[in-house]
Symmetry: C2
């Protein structure tokens, strides 16, 4: 059996890279950028006023700080208008947040610190008049031509905003792979059917489809195949060329009907790994087809399926999209946790929000037979193979689900 | 000025509740459940085998622990088949993970602990034979009729799985509100235009649309209105009946052209709050229309807009959907941070993953003029109004963006 670290490495180093497509900005959230986004103008593009108030020249400063200063209002400078000109230091121009600084002015006094009549503004005594105050200087964030976003960036709202500001109505992003979600197992019946006493409904593929759609890392396509070698071989042969990545659940352990590894071999899919020193998910299988599609075969029990999906397949999809990796949160454990065997432990946890910080409270699923045991949990932490006693307060990588 | 806590309370207590609609299970991820999901059968529905191996009766136990035990294989019990019957304690049945326990058997020995011929299975010496081992007892998770999911539940992949297992192909969920995202400000031009030197492109509405779509809490509709009272009044009057919630950016501060509060008043929109003791976002305005639509007017500078959206509007949308609230993560601060004025501070932070846990490293935006200053951050923390010195190691609520 190989370690979780070796399995991770083997998977990540053998993945193909997805191609690039053009996406309208309005659809680009959650996608992975495949281009550079450059500032087409200085940021800010002009000396931008940051407060409603008056613009003046700092040489208007009174000789003594407790002297009132009254200036003639010679204009109003709204946002979106050409900058006006301040004729002399005895005058001021009313200005709005977002407006361009009037020519000849070098500081702003906010409305809170002045009183005005129709024609004049009086600055409260002891107001400090400092050149540059409340002025966001042109190019002070980034000069024109700066690369603002880089290939591999995950596009959240703020990156969309930066692209919008720089005039990008479309972005080059990684394509969304077609992902086949294939459950196997003769005990499984479709959701809409009433199972016989010894049957259960298919839930794994629906779970993975929901998890995949939430991340916007691929288009899921759901299939179910029976435990019949001939049919499995034929169907997998059909599915392979039509998908960028295939995820099986069930059929990879040591049972009589665990046909998948043998069928993959017959279809010239190269086995890269099988059996990982972890719980749950020990029978994990991974390989690549002759045309370089990754195939994951996850153990069929629900907790194994969901855990392996988050621990291995989401990072694989991010890698295929060329996305810069984002390390998991490190969350301290609430309470000790013992885990005897020398396996990496993926432990479901509930997040507890304490004044000292958020803690991960162990919430072990007593068995991995169904999803109802993990309903109260937020994800799982990863306790390394060599630790049989995880100590309260020690931090572990947390994977939300 | 009211406090952040008062503002939160005022907003949350005045919100309408969204109606309910039916949603196919395949589209229900990220939505809010508006019904109870009940176990239609015991969970597990039968005594479910958890390991590939053999089923036997524990009375087959050898007299001495180091004696080999050889049993006759009388059948094979695959998953999805009617349970077979064990004729006597000297026999065993090969079983697959997920299969129903053969009648007359009460324990499982996994394949790893046996050796087999065509006809017989031999159990390794010193194998402990315990009744109930590797059997997930019928109804041990939940008996038939148990309420598994409750109204108000956020539907992630695991809840979708539970609903699928219980035979639900559709779910009653909160409707998705129609959300108007309305930017104001004459300095703003559409993304595709080349701005004049004193103009900038509209980015706030696009940012909020991306943030909204990422959460699946509403359908965004983008508008831009000029700083003209007559036109503003007419357009808002048209937009009001067509949307469940309206979000304005800009036009609520103390500038000459900040017409919104007056126009809301003329349209009989009740002002519930204006000015909150926070930075950024002090001019935040909130009210409700005569037909009970919530209206938020956010200060137009980008950082204020994004901060107020995450701090006030996302929780409001969750409340409107009837979703059980999920408290924010509490993340310890990396380094001290001073913040002189008596305002609640929303501080952009970068998350640093240390062996002691994830820390929030202050990454203050020097001004709130654009989004490029927060590109390296993951969200913001909230430092309470009375704290002017936030200490390294103290934990604060973290809002991701």
């Amino acid at each position: 059996m190989i370690s979780v670290q070796e399995a991770t490495h083997t998977i990540l180093e053998s993945l193909p890279t997805l191609s690039t497509e053009t996406c309208p900005l309005a659809e680009a959230h959650h996608r992975t950028l495949h281009q550079t986004v450059t500032a087409d103008r200085d940021l800010p593009p002009y000396d931008r006023i940051m407060m409603d108030g008056i613009a003046l020249h700092s040489s208007a400063c009174p000789t003594s700080p407790d002297t009132k200063l009254t200036l003639k209002i010679v204009g109003h400078q709204p946002a979106g208008a050409h900058p006006q000109t301040l004729p002399n230091p005895q005058s001021c121009i009313e200005v709005a947040t977002g407006a361009a600084l009037p020519l000849g002015a070098d500081t702003i006094i906010p409305v809170e610190e002045i009183s005005t009549t129709e024609t004049h503004a009086t600055i409260s005594p002891n107001t400090q008049i400092t050149p540059g105050k409340y002025i966001h200087k042109q190019a002070s964030d980034h000069p024109q031509g700066t690369n603002l976003l880089h290939p591999g960036t995950y596009l959240s709202a703020k990156e969309i905003a930066v692209a919008a500001s720089a005039g990008y109505t479309k972005l080059q992003v990684a394509t969304l792979p077609k992902v086949a979600l294939i459950s196997t197992g003769d005990e499984l019946v479709p959701i809409e059917e009433t199972p016989l006493p010894h049957q259960i409904r298919q839930s794994n593929a629906h779970t993975l489809a929901a998890a995949l759609k939430s991340t916007n890392l691929g288009h899921p396509h759901i299939f179910h195949l029976p435990d019949e070698p001939e049919k499995l071989r034929r169907e997998i042969q059909t599915l392979l060329p039509e998908h960028d990545l295939l995820i099986f659940s069930g059929g990879v352990s040591k049972g009589k009907k665990d046909y998948l590894p043998q069928i993959f071999h017959e279809l010239h899919v190269e086995e890269k790994l099988h059996w990982v020193a972890q719980r749950p998910g020990k029978p994990l299988w991974y390989g690549t087809s002759p045309t370089n599609q990754p195939l994951f075969a996850l153990p069929g029990n629900p907790l194994s399926t969901l855990t392996c999906f988050h621990r291995y397949i989401l990072p694989a999809l991010e890698k295929m999209a060329g996305r810069m990796s984002r390390p998991p949160l490190q969350i301290p454990l609430e309470g000790n946790f013992s885990f005897p065997p020398p396996l990496t432990c993926f432990l479901p946890v509930e997040l507890i929000h304490t004044p000292e910080g958020t803690k991960a409270k162990p919430s072990p699923a007593n068995n991995s037979g169904d999803y109802s045991g993990i309903l109260g949990t937020s994800g799982f932490i990863e306790i390394p193979q060599h630790e049989s006693e995880a100590q309260a307060g020690s931090a572990y990588p947390f994977y939300p689900w």
